[in-house]
Symmetry: C2
Subunit: 373 residues, 2 copies
DNA sequence: TGCCTCTTCTAAACCGTTTTACTAAATCGT
DNA sequence: ACGATTTAGTAAAACGGTTTAGAAGAGGCA
């Protein structure tokens, strides 16, 4: 319990010279079998209290910190952790409030169940690296935000472990959770058409794993391998076409990364267009923030000169200037439910709900206004 | 590579009926020894290319996804992941931008090294639970943000693995990284005294593991077991005393959690004081945000009626309204360096720097002004 | 006393790999 | 053509625990 000099010295050079002590050594010290030491830790009812105490004393003397998790995992066939597979470098995930909220939800589920949470990057340093994935000692996977043609998805599934797909097209035999991206996106577009807008621009995050920034034509949009991108663009398309606006004339600027900074480029490209769009729809709040920033820098004002609608409703949207009109989706709950769906599988409980769609809604704030045009 | 019906069917019921295939079964299928199959995966130069292909074919036929990470970990005595131990529930970490940035830095380091990142909550559901910690299969620990009397720190160290302490008092034999909290805090207080303020209030996050919100007297401040809290308060104290202000008269309100919402309580308590403080120092930006929010709700304005200085300089500080004057510290770099210090130990490289202090600086923005008082 | 049930502990199999030391066959240099 | 090296593959010992089946002894009951 205490941090006393003795114990911290023991840490540096364990009594058994250098190497970490093992259960076998503790058994030898006490003069009992390995099974008994194991029982002392795992099934106190299997030995006398007095012997149990002697075991723990010997353990402390030897600097033995308890059964090795790896060995235990091997024997018990469960590691006590689940893996969360993210499409890209983790630093991108941490920089995206929506992803962070999702992980927050997952972490609530893992803590409920007493499990650890292993974060697994899908790619780093540009190349996709199955190394970390394939050497991840976990009991199951939450597959988050992966492109549908990403070989890592198939590789993960091949490990034949419980898994949950998040924001991805369903795969037979694997439960999924997400939102109706297309319907949600329609809400955003319809809000703007109902305010009288006829001239649009769209800012999207990446459509495919290795995208470059730039305008994306309809073919590219329809072939996008990130489900959220593809479905949201489809949603905008159908709402605008329904309002009699030709989607072919709507410029869609794809940003290679979902960070505010990237939207500055998009703004430059879209604001230069003639006629200048009166309304911009972004597939994420992050991009909307960046876009608004750039608009202000250009000396225009929101929503007077140009209306902006985002997607995600991260907390900062409410505090933005002006407050961002956007589509709400329950990120934390998505993570929580995904985590629980996975954990239910681990317990081999009744087959969990297999396809969950969470509700979304339009949140009207101050970044979109009626156009005078 | 492809997601075709065959492979997804294979996933559900592997050819070897139910159970996951093992390396031994693959060996039997090909008619070679286990060593050879192992070599096919790990040391291609040890067998003929043709045999290697046959091994992989058999593996695919049997639905074998490659060597089991746990077994491999046991044999090789390394798991390919490091653990990040956080003081509390992970959801608190994810809700705190400073912690998220720290993890972002750590993740960069782990990806550089091809390691996974296991997040370990120190406590959940109120009780401190060593279960997840003790069953974490990792090669080392980043110990982040723990109270110095937390038994989990000692428990971690007892595992005799490489570790790095972050924002905690040094322990012999364990490298640490952090900032000079006391000096940094002095900067904040001195900025306000230099603007003429004489009447102060302080908003702090928790001083100890299981704190309740409320005013904290000097004894409690000095006995705080979270180093950052204790040291920052000391910094404020020494700067104000140096300016001739009696610290005993400065109200310090402790918030039980480091979230903006909690600062509303603090604001209520501090604004009701007579005379009302003209300057508030917060030990985190999160609290400063919440405080500013509450001040505005109370019909006062910042910095005209009251000046606020934060701590951390999270990105949102620059976008706040008004932009927050605060103390900058390099969160991402802290995580990156901590991760690298740990990884260097794993590699048994030259003993890494053992005590790192990162630089801090005052960032003057718009939330603190000269007082007319 | 004899039989049965607890309690307390143990022997040994097993979890799925990697790695060391070794063998047998093929190739090389001269 | 012959010993020396290289190549290709193997047997078996770890790695550090958990768990099953069972033994030895103690106590209870008739």
């Amino acid at each position: 319990m205490d941090i006393n000099p003795e114990s911290s010295k023991a840490r540096q050079t364990s009594r058994v010279s250098g190497r970490r002590a093992t259960l076998k050594e503790v058994a030898a010290e006490v003069g009992v079998s390995r099974a008994t030491v194991s029982n002392a830790y795992n099934r106190p009812d299997q030995l006398s209290e007095e012997l149990r105490v002697r075991v723990f004393e010997a353990a402390r003397r030897l600097g033995y910190a308890g059964p090795d998790p790896t060995a235990r995992g091997l024997r018990k066939q469960r590691t006590g952790a689940i893996g969360a597979l993210y499409t890209d470098r983790l630093s991108y995930a941490f920089a995206d409030p929506a992803a962070v909220m999702f992980f927050e939800g997952v972490s609530v589920a893992t803590e409920e169940a007493g499990l650890g949470l292993l974060l697994i990057p899908g790619g780093s340093l540009g190349q996709r690296d199955p190394e970390i994935l394939m050497s991840a000692a976990v009991d199951g996977f939450v597959i988050f935000c992966m492109a549908e043609d990403d070989p890592l998805v198939e590789a993960t599934l091949r490990r034949q472990m419980p898994a949950v797909l998040v924001d991805q097209p369903p795969i037979e035999g694997v439960p999924s959770i997400g939102i109706d991206d297309e319907a949600a996106a329609r809400l955003a577009a319809e809000h703007l058409t109902s305010l009288g807008h006829r001239s649009f621009g769209v800012v999207s995050f990446d459509l495919d794993k290795d995208s470059k920034s730039g305008f994306a034509d309809i073919d590219k949009q329809h072939a996008a391998t990130y489900l959220p991108s593809r479905a949201r663009l489809r949603g905008y398309e159908s709402a605008l076409e329904a309002a009699g606006i030709s989607w072919a004339d709507v410029p869609v600027y794809e940003c290679a990364e979902n960070v505010p900074g990237m939207a500055a480029e998009a703004a430059e490209a879209l604001l230069a267009l003639a006629p200048r769009p009166t309304a911009i729809i972004a597939t994420s709040d992050q991009l909307a923030f960046g876009f608004m920033e750039a608009v202000k820098k250009a000396g225009l004002s929101i929503p007077e000169d140009i209306s902006v609608v985002g997607f995600d409703d991260v907390p900062e949207a409410a505090r933005a200037n002006p407050p961002l009109t956007t589509i709400h989706q329950p990120h934390v709950e998505k993570g929580l439910r995904a985590g629980r769906m996975l954990i239910a599988q681990l317990r081999e409980e009744e087959p969990p709900e297999t396809q969950v769609l969470l509700p979304t809604r339009l949140v009207v704030r101050g970044s979109a206004a009626r156009t005078d045009h």
